[in-house]
Subunit: 346 residues, 2 copies
Amino acid sequence: MNERKLKILAAVVEEYVRTGEPVGSKTIAAMPQIHVSAATVRNDMASLEQMGLLEHPHTSAGRMPTIGGYRLYIEKLMQPASLPEEERERLDEMLAEQGAMTEELLIENATTALAELTQCAAVVSDISPRFSVISRVEVIPAGRRMYVVLLITSGGAIKNKACRLEFDLTDEQLALFSQFLAENIEGISVEELSEERMAQLTAAMSAYMLSMAPLVQGICELSRDLRQRALMFRGEQNLFSCEELDKMEVVHFIEHKDELAGLLDDSFSGIRVVFGEDNDHFVIGNSSMIVSKYRKKGHNVGSLGVIGPMRLDYAKVIPYLEYFSQKISDLISEENDDDSGARRRR
Amino acid sequence: MNERKLKILAAVVEEYVRTGEPVGSKTIAAMPQIHVSAATVRNDMASLEQMGLLEHPHTSAGRMPTIGGYRLYIEKLMQPASLPEEERERLDEMLAEQGAMTEELLIENATTALAELTQCAAVVSDISPRFSVISRVEVIPAGRRMYVVLLITSGGAIKNKACRLEFDLTDEQLALFSQFLAENIEGISVEELSEERMAQLTAAMSAYMLSMAPLVQGICELSRDLRQRALMFRGEQNLFSCEELDKMEVVHFIEHKDELAGLLDDSFSGIRVVFGEDNDHFVIGNSSMIVSKYRKKGHNVGSLGVIGPMRLDYAKVIPYLEYFSQKISDLISEENDDDSGARRRR
DNA sequence: AATTAGCACTCACTCTCTTAGAGTGCTAAA
DNA sequence: TTTAGCACTCTAAGAGAGTGAGTGCTAATT
């Protein structure tokens, strides 16, 4: 392996990404950065093929990168495009538009923008509610025997659910129960609000509170919703516009998209690229997924990913992804000044 | 036009729906209900073609129905399959599963089941919240300067939204404002809770309440959410499994699915069938949509629809659709006994 | 007048065969 | 070590030919 071969590999990857056609030795030799003849290129290509970095659809066709070829290119060869200042400003505006309000909206905006810019599908896995704190729990009468339980977290997530009781509650009962919930639930983290914890709580309830068990059950379900990472997808349609992706596989993927959760949950740092071929949970042929973590005050709290064809302009897409995940990290980390205030208020 | 031609048309439609291949005269003549020779069938087919009910992909191919052919078949010829008793029971169970809780869940369950059973996409447009009454409005502190406004309707819909104020409210201010909202908003219908009404309300607020305008604004937005028909789709993937639908058109449709709202909103009674070809807002080639209204106490409050290939087993699908929309009508009409109770409670 | 048998005709589809061209691999010369 | 030259390979595109399902028309039959 030498300098020139790497240069040729990079040239093949870039040309193939650009045109989608297998690349011949003549095309490469004609490039300004290549100063050798087509015959030499051919020799080097044959050698790159032996190393498993390039492949042939058939004898008399040009070369295209293998998965290994892409991987080497991404890790060592590519020169990431840097975003021009004006582009950054445009993106920042996009995110600010109405996203500053809550984390959830911010992340949604970023995912939408990412899908839009890359013309790929974008996915985000957000487990940040887990790390926030229940800042408020409310029980609100909502009709005969119907009560709404409401959880608000320090991160700004709001969840509600209607529950039906066997009896109507008197105002005193309601006040007492609210008091009980506030004392036992407010201020603890979503993570801690587990099924066992709730079971303990139910056990601790005095006898006459037992009829309120459905409310506790409701809270339990809300907390489960908050704890589980929810995946959000944007721009799935873009996968259908992709010639090289099999439509049926895309459909299958969309139907089973929740299985991605595992992949996104893995802990790693920086950027990770996964190819459709060599993974169990992400099985569109000729596809690739690029994932980056975002952090909240230094802790990984979610992943942002781009899903597209393997033949993707990585040098352009990866910087976008890095920018967005950095931006999300920054914004959700500062925003959370409110945390303590949320509880101070009461 | 005579009896026999109609019989032949029906036979062609059914056979074509069954096989997906153009149907030849011999196939038709061999059917038990047809007692004439292939030559006679050919003559009649030619005549049906002249009337614009059948068509030819090319000279030496069999016939297939035109849009007009389908329409005539649906309106006059088809014999709707009746649901066997056990099937009804199964469906009722499906709906009851957890759907009795709220209207919203009930409708969601029905839509999911419909998509599942027909292997098509199902869509529901629900404008019923418009006709229900605000049974409860709450303002809940949720962090420094953050407040959550919450609307509960008699139909069981719950909406919330976080708002940011310029100042924190004291407990008295909060109580007073809640009182103010309850007096002015609870008990009126969602329909009445218009932008003007809210503007009047803001005008009526005493000076020191003016800083709470963002909360009123929030309520205004919640009410707008409730008023506008929200479309819900289920089983969109099924459209991709459909050979005869163009994948790109399906993608385009899904991206612009909200444009269906207009079509679903039209008032009509009974069942309506719309074909992709002859409509501006619903443009998948070779597709059709069957829509039925559902009612609440006699008023149309929403539409339930099935979207699938034009080559669809209408005789099977239409009864399903009718059954579901009737069932929804029945359930949401009776369920509403709670209406008055919801307010009586307070 | 309506129906049917018979037959020529049409046209998509499938095969096979051919050709053109892009690209390779190898060899021998520079 | 690099390059020019050349034979070789394999696909993609196109042309013909054969097949068969199905039609449309005509003349005979009921």
